[in-house]
Symmetry: none
Subunit: 205 residues, 4 copies
DNA sequence: CTGTAACCGAGACGGTACGTCACGTCTTGGT
DNA sequence: ACCAAGACGTGACGTACCGTCTCGGTTACAG
């Protein structure tokens, strides 16, 4: 017996060139005109492709964009581990400072923002995002924290998911909602405070 | 000196009934059909109002929705202070647990999500949000933290903005991106870890 | 009590310039590209009008074309009577020869053909055609035949509808189906044979 | 010598089952959904055939339909002669009454209408129609008229093409354009008037 | 107490994009 | 080689809303 999906298109016959052109067009366009003005028609036109070819393979504008990100992520060396000098606070600060810088680059800011908000509205997309993009990155972060647990820098019983949320959550939040300036200093303060806790905030010095 | 907007409509002549009908229709509709399918035409029809009446007073769909929230917030007793029993961790846990519950209510979830993502794309709206909705709530939170500083529960030199981000950021983040289960236990762990810091996470017990 | 048509658009607010531009564009286009390749989009583009403006006022491509003909017919002096020299055969021959010539003109042939076949498929359109275009012309023809009845050229008890069909039907038929050459000679033979009957076909000479 | 069409497919290898399925599907579908909504895709799907198999053998939708008619006509006994009792008027009345009845049957009306209008727009098709379907029927009619010429019922110098047009043209016209009721009485009046001529219309009695 | 001007509902308008359908061409794999 | 299946680029469909623009009707201030 085989898994029988209703009228699922035959992936074997798929045109790889069109697929790539669509993904590239989607990524480029979202950076140029923003997510709100991104249209399937626009993507199709830019990619030199029929609209139906998009509708055949993706359920929504957001799904296309997501795949575009995925292709990009898989193409890059995102699989590289976080720095591990033995000094957790220094390493985290380095990473968050880099993230701050990345957020400041419009070429990343616009499409990332689009993906973030699209995910907020589409649970199916959120699931895909969690599985394919968030989980691998989260695993890298966990690895660094586990290393810190091994050296005794962090307690062994620390809930790593909470820990990661505590360090990266506020940063992502401030970026997405523009609820405050996104500076290297903020990244430093965040790491320091998260590591030491509110009660001992000045202990880092 | 007064800010002179070009051909600004005369607020005095404004029809209050229409304004309220529009705000109510916007809020109701966003809960029924979601933000993406919310349309000015739909709001106008539901409110029994001409489209022009909306375009006359609001620059965008998001602005209408924002005003709808504002009206709701001002109508409620959101201005009440956070609980202050003298035990900061207990009080914050109470507050975050309530927030978790609120996020679980679809009547709040859908419109709030809409506002959140709209803000992410519209800096002007973000500014309004920061000013009119976020700042007052943040002030209440700061007040509670200052109280804790006075009693010595928190260091006097703690950066309260970072502190607030550290406690509420991860929660809001997990809600918006559905990056994990939103449970009371998570709220508790968050408060405990944030207060004690990652290095001393088990010190709260 | 008033006649309550369901969601009928308010004719009063109608833009007359757009209406005329649409009609003209439709007529021109059908002559240029033929009925099969005539599209609402094309008409709208040529007329400088939104598609919705067409859909708002006409139920179908054929209805637009029909109105275009109607406007043309009303604009011209089609209301002029048929010639009446006292010699019925001569007069009918004159008229049919003119019709043959008209059918040979591509500027009339293409759109007329389009209207004719559209009518064949759409009973509602057929009704409109019968009422607005065919009936007036038929009345003019009847008038000429009645005059012949008065002078004794035709019997008083002749069924004029059958008579008209007999004279014009074959011509229209041969034109539409291209079932034979459309010549002045054919027009002459037709009139002679119809007037004298098959049994006495040579009696006209 | 044979007419050599460029890259004509090898008729020998043709799948007869597919051909018949296509023709049947085309005929059935045109009766079900009408000519306008008849599509190659629909025919292919209904016939269980690839689209290419249709495009390989027919140049257009109309050509398929025409072949479907042809197959039907050749399958039936349309080659039978018209009745010849010696009374021309009676015989023609019988034939036209039968035709009137046929036109009233939706199973014939819809596809016939489709073919008729398609012919009006496509000269190539018209030529095929004239050759393959119209000419044989016209020959049968002429045969009956020649018989009447032999018995002296009709003049020997009568133009038979004009005569046939005069009798059948008005009927076909009224059917196609719905320009009046299609009744047995109309058939009778038509025959009588055509035979006797307008000038002696009452002479048949 | 009465213009008159702004606001109001309604909705037509020129547009853009939607998501679907069918076109005619093409490629793949099976017989 | 022909066939079924169906992906492809193309283009039109008919619908939904966009934001702008009259159109009368109705307030509410100004002369």
């Amino acid at each position: 017996m085989s898994t029988q999906r209703e009228s699922a298109p035959n992936t074997a016959r798929r045109n790889e060139a069109s697929r790539r052109a669509i993904l590239m067009a989607a990524f480029d366009l979202v950076g140029e005109v923003g997510y709100a003005k991104l249209s399937i028609e626009g993507i199709a036109a830019r990619a030199g492709v029929g609209k139906q070819t998009i509708y055949r393979w993706w359920p929504s504008k957001g799904a296309v964009l997501f795949d575009a990100f995925l292709a990009l992520a898989e193409g890059s060396d995102d699989s590289s581990a976080l720095p591990d000098t033995g000094d957790l606070q220094a390493d985290l600060t380095t990473v968050l400072r880099a993230t701050v810088e990345e957020f400041g680059d419009p070429r990343f800011d616009t499409p990332m923002r689009a993906l973030s908000t699209e995910i907020a509205h589409d649970p199916a997309l959120a699931e895909m995002y969690a599985e394919r993009l968030d989980r691998p990155m989260r695993e890298l972060k966990k690895e660094r924290l586990r290393s810190a647990q091994r050296t005794g820098e962090l307690p062994a019983d620390l809930d790593l998911d909470v820990a990661i949320d505590l360090v990266w959550g506020p940063l992502h939040n401030r970026w997405l909602h523009r609820s405050g300036p996104l500076t290297p200093e903020y990244a430093e303060a965040l790491v320091a405070t998260a590591l030491n806790g509110l009660r001992h905030a000045s202990a880092s010095e």
